[in-house]
Amino acid sequence: MEEEKGDFEPKIVGFTCNWCTYAGADLAGTSRKKYPPNIRLIRLMCSGRIDPMFVLKALLNGADGVFIGGCHPGECHYIKGNFYARRRIAALRTILKQFGLDNRVRSEWISASEGDKFARTMKEMAEEIKQLGPNPMRDKIL
């Protein structure tokens, strides 16, 4: 797409739990909070469903950023899925950090009532990733 050049618009893939962050994203919409249209969400039932391989796959396919959203710790719809998610994402980001890719992955706990936080996070993330520039993987045949 034309955005490779000067006016780089990051493509961010998000993995969110159905009960909190996805609902928070809905609330951002319902309350007409504006945030840049860089994010596309993939809805899962729980952040505990997220296999870090999803994140790797998205990054290697050229996504400029990957967002992970779950319920606040202690408020998981399935009691503790987000605790496991936190460990997995922490491990994955530790690995990615070695190659400077960790900055492209961000997790946040956003509840169904935090539409504002969702919008704010999306703004921040779009901005941060603009600063990083396009994912180097974009240019690769992988």
Binding site: M53, I95, F99, R106, E108, K140
Partner: protein
């Protein structure tokens, strides 16, 4: 710990005793074939000859844990191996790929090892066992230890059921678990309180290992990673020899991880062009994630790479970073839960964003 001191040549009687007294039904232990050291599975005690000349030999071929992976048997097998191999066995116990009750883990002090082919080639110079002075001397001659061994912090036997330590020209044998102490009693070793902690020596090894780790070239960018894996042909040998890779069918042998034919054409259509064989980077990054808590840094992956990619700089180095955030040392204790199966209510937030 309870243990005793033996002369090197007494070890033969000890191992034979384990079989003779039915402490174990079989032993997996190193033996020598000419210049080469490899493992044997031995049931007839008469086939054990001068083990002291081989169990300390600085040679690494396969990780012994990989040999017994998935042996969910009732017979009892003693495994005489280096700390990294026993650590892997302990991780396999946690992963239910090895039955804790049916293995007697005997850990032998390691001085660091050479690739088995290097060892065989230079056997006349290396000999049956080495110490740090000797290693330096060999290095001077261009005979270098495996990189995994150079950065290894856990060379002294301190895990498993029984440890066999080299102390002051003798060997210290001690039981760390009830099973270990019982085994030592069964072969009628005179047991007494024995301190084989060797704290200072450990600290020295750790300091040296960290120094060597710091000297390793880093793979510090995506470009560097691509360059590092440039020659990878996706043979997946690194996986096959890895003692803690344990899937029946690897994801990367399944259609989703190893797309072929029409699936591959579809992907090529979506993305214009794709690298084949596909998923090389994904394979290594996923694999390092899969083993990041259990990797014992044995370096078997590097030895197995037909393209000579120094995988120690990738797998063990990255895994160690992850193990640090969980304050987890693989293979320390079979009772300790695996990091991905447990959690703290408040933790790791600094690693998420």
């Amino acid at each position: 710990m309870k243990g005793t001191e033996l002369k090197y040549e007494d070890l033969e009687g000890f191992f034979k005793g384990l079989l003779e007294n039915n402490v174990v039904d079989a032993l997996i232990m190193p033996h020598r074939v000419g210049n080469k050291v490899s493992y044997m599975l031995v049931r007839d005690k008469e086939r054990i000859a001068s083990p002291e000349s081989v169990i300390f030999a600085p040679s690494f071929g396969v990780n012994a844990a990989n040999v017994v992976k998935g042996w969910m048997i009732d017979n009892k097998v003693g495994i005489v191996a280096k700390p990294c191999e026993i650590r892997a066995a302990i991780e396999l116990i946690k992963l239910k790929q090895l039955n804790e009750e049916s293995v007697l883990l005997i850990t032998v002090d390691c001085s660091g090892a050479f690739k088995n082919e290097d060892y065989a080639e230079h056997y006349p110079e290396i000999g049956n066992l080495v110490d740090s002075a000797k290693i330096k001397e060999l290095e001077g001659k261009g005979i270098s230890m495996r990189e995994a061994c150079a950065i290894c912090e856990n060379r002294l036997a301190d895990i498993g059921d029984i440890i066999i330590a080299r102390v002051n020209g003798k060997v210290g044998v001690a039981g760390l678990t009830d099973m270990g102490v019982e085994a030592l009693s069964a072969v009628e070793l005179p047991l007494e309180d024995k301190d084989l902690e060797r704290k200072e020596e450990k600290e020295r090894i750790v300091a040296e290992a960290r120094k060597r780790l710091g000297e390793l070239p880093r793979i510090d960018s995506v470009e560097a990673l691509e360059e590092f894996l440039r020659d990878c042909i996706l043979c997946k040998n690194c996986r096959d020899v890895c003692p803690v890779c344990y899937c029946k069918e690897c994801f990367f042998d399944q259609p989703l991880g190893n797309p072929a034919g029409g699936d591959l054409l579809n992907l090529a259509e979506l993305r214009g062009a794709i690298e084949v064989p596909a998923n090389q980077l994904l394979y290594h990054l996923t694999r390092v994630y899969h083993v990041c808590t259990t990797c014992v840094a044995c370096g078997a992956c590097e030895d197995a790479c037909p393209k000579g990619i120094p995988l120690t700089r990738f797998y063990p180095v990255l895994a160690q970073k992850v193990q640090e955030i969980f304050e987890y040392v693989p293979g320390k204790d079979a009772k300790e839960p695996l990091p991905f199966t447990t959690y703290e209510d408040e933790e790791l937030e600094e690693c998420l964003r």
